[in-house]
């Protein structure tokens, strides 16, 4: 054993965020280089804009768009979820999104660095990913 690192998650990778949204059940996700306006349940343009958008038609009849806006200064995506939609997209849903996101990022990072994927399992309420590092 040599070290144990605790890490906090923030949304930085657009592709992994989209993958996480798909894993959470939203298969139709819009991706824009330039942030687009979010649309409310009255078909009204909201003040918020986003680069990653789940349109309200995929969320529910009385819902607003869900969006994640790229904050270039902070280097993270900021989520825009209306108070109404936070009923369904509550902290448990957001935690699920974060878990899927972290897993997607870890798999991508491991592949990019040449680590060999050994397996995935659930242990004591945690997703466990195991890799081998054969680099010298």
């Amino acid at each position: 054993m040599s070290a144990y690192h605790s890490q906090k998650t923030s949304y930085k990778d657009r592709d992994c965020l989209v993958a996480a949204l798909k894993a959470q059940g939203y298969h139709d996700v819009e991706v824009h280089d330039v942030a687009q306006s979010l649309i409310g349940y009255h078909a009204d343009m909201r003040n918020q804009k986003a680069n990653v958008i789940v349109r309200r038609s995929n969320v529910g009849s009385a819902s607003n768009d869900l969006g994640w806006e790229w904050d270039a200064k902070a280097g993270v995506f900021i989520e825009h979820i209306s108070d109404y939609d936070k009923g369904k997209h509550n902290s448990a849903w957001l935690t699920g999104l974060k878990c899927h996101y972290s897993e997607a990022v870890d798999m991508k990072t491991a592949k990019r660095n040449g680590f060999i994927f050994l397996g995935r399992k659930i242990v004591n309420g945690k997703v466990q990913l195991k890799f081998q590092d054969n680099r010298r």
């Binding site: 040599s2 144990y4 890490q7 930085k12 935690t95 990022v105």
Partner: protein, 63 residues
């Protein structure tokens, strides 16, 4: 011994821990940083016994 990376994502918080086995010294932190930077930020590091032990060179030829 093979170097091994075990990542555990907590399903109740979404945050993760990276456990590194059979790494020595700064190489250990470098690997953890790769995941830390990718996923967000590292908030706590605990070095274990092997951290300060010299790496064993497995490429030595024996005569």
């Amino acid at each position: 011994m093979a170097k091994e990376i075990i990542i555990e994502i907590d399903l109740t918080t979404g945050d993760q821990t990276v456990d590194l086995n059979n790494y020595h010294g700064k190489g250990c932190d470098a690997v953890a940083d790769v995941f830390g930077r990718a996923v967000g930020e590292t908030v706590k590091v605990t070095h274990k016994g092997e951290y300060n032990k010299p790496a064993v060179n497995t490429n030595l030829m024996r005569h």
